[in-house]
Point group: C2
Chain length 311, copies 2
Amino acid sequence: MTDKTSHFADRLNAQIKKKDSAVCVGLDPRLEQIPDFIKEKHFAKQKNPFTAAAESFIEFNKGIIDAVFDLVPIVKPQIAFYEQYGAEGMRAFKETCDYAKEKGVLTLADIKRGDIGSTAEAYAKAFLGKVDLNGEKSESFDVDAVTVAPYLGWDGVKPFVNEAVKYGKGVFVLDKTSNKSSADLQDLQINDGRTIYEIMAHYIDSWGADDVGESGYSLVGAVVGATFPTQIVSLRKLMPASIFLVPGYGAQGGGADDVRAAFDKKGLGAIINSSRGIIFAWESSDSFTEKDYAQAAREATLTMLRDLRWE
Amino acid sequence: MTDKTSHFADRLNAQIKKKDSAVCVGLDPRLEQIPDFIKEKHFAKQKNPFTAAAESFIEFNKGIIDAVFDLVPIVKPQIAFYEQYGAEGMRAFKETCDYAKEKGVLTLADIKRGDIGSTAEAYAKAFLGKVDLNGEKSESFDVDAVTVAPYLGWDGVKPFVNEAVKYGKGVFVLDKTSNKSSADLQDLQINDGRTIYEIMAHYIDSWGADDVGESGYSLVGAVVGATFPTQIVSLRKLMPASIFLVPGYGAQGGGADDVRAAFDKKGLGAIINSSRGIIFAWESSDSFTEKDYAQAAREATLTMLRDLRWE
């Protein structure tokens, strides 16, 4: 188990050093891509198909985590894929996070939440802090970090930062996302010539300025897509103390050279996420069948690791 | 039950006409404010405190819905308050929505989701459409409308609009939110002089242009806070076919005069939300005790209704 009293950035950078790896595996299960041998078992056994979906996700994810836990500092379940199966899906989400923690891997919940202050506080307590249970306080999801959407400004981010400070957790604020239409809003230029993602970088840098750990990084990180390598270079300068969460590697088109500028000279300060490219690697492989999905995920992780060492 | 084959804006406007009411009740249960006689019963009975919290929410919400269903066209549960209690909380969210539908009230899930295309699709199917259960398709949350955050641009909104078109549902995109620091991002002025919320209004208007119902309104609505009355006036002109969801009435400071410009001449095209001011009305009342929380909510709704008729 990780030490929750120490700073999130220090905990993450220590894991990156220890495993010599900045690979973040995205645990984004899609039922239609889960191997049949897993699905069929659970759909035969469970009366409630939502429970069967949840159990299929749990078994699949445990297989992936067992195969990669020694190779990656952190995993990132995208909550949408769990939430779509309601209460049972959320149970699978929690069991996945708990299992990753048991295996000594940090957990980053990709939730992209953001709301007015009092509501953001409810989310923040649920994922990073403790919730009220009629006077008693208890952890609910208890992950190591979350992603947050900044459309509502500081009000919507602050409650997450507050809980993160209190419990040694981290917050990754969306800045320049990996999707094509991120330009619709994020690339707009304001009257002083800066783009919205540059303004946002300024906010992110200042929001984290009070909470920098021993490794030189803040607990407020930034999401910057691998699909925008030029922006990675310029944003790294605007947010020298923010850990970058870089999605969009692999399936979305980003490569190792595209993300190199996200790292500092010691190879720290960034995590590069791949989801489909790793967890469903068996689908595009000639050497693996669905039974070997976990082994295929390990091989894909090792390949990505080598690519990210630029050897 | 409402007819899901007809257009969301028509269904909502028909409810507003029928009940002569544009009040939206925010179902935002906070455990510390749930009457003791409800909480104590469930915390005594249930071994799992998360189940006790969920059961308390369900009983409380059913009481509120029973008291107001004939007075309001729509209710808006804020999912954060449920989600904080994990899988059990999400069950309470679903049971609340299902109960409101049974009582002939539309349901608007305040989820503020927004993600890259393939992920947004998972959310959209979960809340508005149908999810895959190993080949079978089934409804998951099945609410009438959702709120969506636009930081990722059209990619992140489109999947919701697609499902809304297919199933007669609605989408409310955040434009100018009711919180103070909405200015951080939303009030920035771009190089042609327009603010981000004006740009966003332009997007929202265009995103809904292809899907206008018989009542003249689109299935893509906008969230515009009651706390910004001047912006309500200007935004109404920029989005003539969008239904406005107006939060920030009551507890957050907005009043009836502030929101008047959100409505068209027939009194249609807007819903005004109040959460704490209605569901916890008994707390600030001399005439009601906690046992009468539902009656207090009905009285507060009637007062708000009268205020919004400007009689």
